[in-house]
């Protein structure tokens, strides 16, 4: 112990200067909005490493399991980037599907997915009115099969858990348990673990602390200015700066598409929700007003800091249920043309970034222009999804800061307005479809609240109605 202290102090004094220089360099680069390209290089190196690991695993597994299966032989598929893949079952998106779905029941039966369009209806003949209902024993088979398919794989339960990866990304995040395969892989995994937890993590925590401090200081400074165009411009710059700095603490590599034409300056911006990090992702490129519930503690501190410099909408807990109050505040905010656009996540809950769930109609009733944004995280590098039933916020942040990187793509979609005769629900679905299509996500009609609630009885009754219609030959 006595020998250790002088050694440690020597080490600190040697490393002190370059470390400080590194931090200053990062701050400087963030402030001029440029980057050395180090993160992209890092990401590319990681990709190569993952590919190597994945191929190695597939080969090792093949050798291990030398039995011959009665299915096709295992070919090692290419690891394509997420949005390039179009899946079976009529859905676009990267969700891995195991089976060929014949029929998928949903909350709105007219949108039930059916693979074979009424092949067997021809047998029954045309509908002959209610007096001549034909029922056969095989009529139940469709429902049974749909039920069994949903037991093997369904659209909803998987969406509330981390996405399963086709390949292994040194985080052991595939759903299959980590099995010992070869020494080489284990060593790579251990090295990865050491690098992530003992090198990257402390560095990132430091950057996080500095970043938060900077955010609070800069918003205080901007907040002390009198209201006016100067304050808004300064706020815009300062906010983008601070968030860019914070984004380095989880090594974010973000690619923005179509920002020139479609970046919102006002109105309402809607995006699909995967985690609180979405806010960080979007605010690195543009200044938004946030809307949400007032929190205590650390989050409350941040909320107050942000509210000093720019108009945000923070609600008391009691007001949250009052939809009219929310709608009024929204309308108020967008009626002032100089206000920054409001950022809203209409799904209402975090989804795992493979799908988009039902957009709540509240924000689509207010009027004004909607600027949809699609965010897609590359799952190979880190899982950005916050599974709030599994991890608390702190644990989640720790996971984020110890993953390799967060790589994501953001697409700014062209603005959309509600058509004169269109209902808010229809408009919300239209926006949702656009976001899903652009982001390569599955467009689900299910409500995100299914995370916490059971399926509604009415949906089942609607399915019964649908079946009756089939029987009657409609």
């Amino acid at each position: 112990m006595a020998l250790l202290t002088p050694l440690v102090s020597v080490a600190i004094s040697i490393l002190y200067t370059p470390f400080l220089l590194l931090i200053l360099c990062i701050i400087f680069l963030a402030s001029i909005g440029k980057s050395l390209g180090v993160r992209r290089l890092y990401v590319n190196i990681l990709l190569k490493l993952f590919e190597y690991g994945r191929q190695h695993i597939e080969v090792a597994k093949k050798l291990q399991r030398s039995d011959s299966s009665d299915e096709e032989e295992l070919t090692v598929p290419d690891d394509k980037p997420p949005s390039a893949v179009v899946k079976e079952n009529g859905t676009n998106g990267t969700k891995m599907t195991v089976i060929e779905r014949q029929e998928i029941l949903g909350p709105s039966p007219e949108l039930n997915y059916r693979r074979v369009q009424n092949g067997h209806r021809a047998e029954e003949g045309t509908g002959q009115g209610e007096t001549n209902l034909e029922f056969h024993f095989y009529h139940c088979m469709d429902l049974i099969k749909a039920g069994m398919e949903s037991i093997i794989e369904d659209q909803v339960t998987s969406v509330f858990e981390a996405e399963e990866l086709r390949s292994w990304n040194l985080l052991t995040r595939t759903n299959r348990q980590y099995e010992f395969l070869t020494w080489r892989l284990t060593i790579i995994w251990m090295m990865g673990f050491v690098v992530r937890y003992f090198f990257l993590l402390p560095l990132r925590i430091l950057i996080f602390v500095i970043g938060v401090w900077w955010l609070i200081v800069s918003t205080a400074c901007v907040g002390s200015l009198p209201d006016g165009p100067l304050k808004q411009r300064l706020n815009h710059t300062a906010s983008i700066l601070s968030f860019n700095f914070l984004s380095r603490c989880i090594s974010m590599v973000i690619t923005y598409h179509d920002g020139e034409e479609n970046r919102p300056r006002s109105g309402i911006c809607v995006a699909n929700h995967t985690s609180p990090i979405d806010v960080l992702v979007l605010m690195c490129d543009n200044c938004y007003s946030l809307i949400g519930q007032r929190h205590d503690g650390f989050l409350g501190l941040l909320q107050r800091a942000l509210a000093r410099a720019s108009p945000h909408i923070w609600f008391e807990r009691s007001e949250v249920k009052d939809r009219h109050a929310v709608a009024n505040r929204l309308k108020e905010h967008i009626s002032v043309p100089d206000n920054p656009p409001i950022l809203i996540f209409p799904e209402g809950t975090c989804i795992n970034n493979t799908s988009v769930m039902q957009f709540k109609k509240g924000s689509f009733e207010v009027g004004g222009t909607i600027y949809p944004v699609a965010i897609k995280y590359d799952p190979r590098f880190g899982d950005a999804f916050w599974n709030s039933s599994r991890y608390g916020m702190l644990h989640y942040l720790l996971n984020m800061m110890s993953s390799w990187a967060i790589v994501c793509e953001v697409w700014y979609l062209p603005p959309m307005r509600r058509a004169p005769q269109e209902t808010a629900v229809h408009f919300a679905n239209r926006v949702k479809a656009a976001v899903a299509r652009r982001g390569g996500l599955v467009d689900l009609m299910w409500d995100g609240q299914l995370k916490r609630m059971k399926a509604k009885k009415e949906w089942r009754e609607l399915q019964q109605e649908e079946f009756s219609k089939r029987l009657k030959g409609e």
Binding site: I104, F135, Y138, I151, N175, F467
Partner: protein, 189 residues
């Protein structure tokens, strides 16, 4: 964190399940990971609530019958992985030139029969058929019409005039139906 590693599937278990059901090891592993994700309490078995937590299943009119089919062999109202696989094995597509123990045409028909046969006595009575019809159509068709449908269906299939449908009569009624296609689920890999 949900430590499910204690329930890792061993090679012998995979081999046993493959022998009994005909699924490939890959498919067994996938279904096992599905099984564990449905098993929210990490106890290695599923309850009825675990099944009904799947929204698509919960809104299926025949959800009770489908879930019940898993519990047919169970004593403690819970399903373990082997029982789970045995039921799913009925829905494997039929392969020519291969042995089909649980997914032959007859087995598939037997499974469908068990959907209707509520009290498991080997015969479908008019009341049982009526109960199933109720489940499937809810309140959208009147009681009289449902009764007449049930009676007509039984009349058409009942060859020995005992007002009940036995398994042989059931099979005969479905002679011309492509049961193999209707009761098979194709795996993609």
């Amino acid at each position: 964190m949900g430590n499910k590693s204690s329930l890792l599937l061993r090679e012998e278990e995979i081999a046993q399940i493959q022998e009994e059901t005909g699924f490939t090891p890959n498919q067994i592993e996938r279904l096992y990971s599905r099984f564990t994700s449905l098993d929210k309490n990490d106890c290695g078995t599923l309850s009825r609530e675990d099944f009904l937590r799947i929204p698509e299943l919960a809104i299926n009119p025949l959800s009770e019958r489908i879930v019940h089919s898993f519990f047919a062999e169970s004593h403690d109202d819970r399903v373990n992985f082997l029982q789970f696989m045995r039921v799913l094995a009925h829905f494997r597509p039929i392969r020519k030139n291969r042995e089909n123990k649980l997914n032959s045409r007859e087995e598939k028909l037997r499974f469908a029969f068990s959907m209707y046969d509520l009290d498991n006595d080997g015969k479908i009575s008019r009341d049982e058929l009526l109960a199933i019809l109720h489940m499937m159509v809810g309140v959208n068709i009147s009681e009289e019409q449902l009764t007449s449908i049930a009676e007509r269906t039984i009349l058409e299939a009942d060859t020995n005039n005992d007002q009940m449908i036995s398994f042989e009569e059931f099979c005969r009624a479905l002679e011309r139906t492509d049961v193999e296609q209707k009761m098979s689920i194709r795996f993609l890999n």
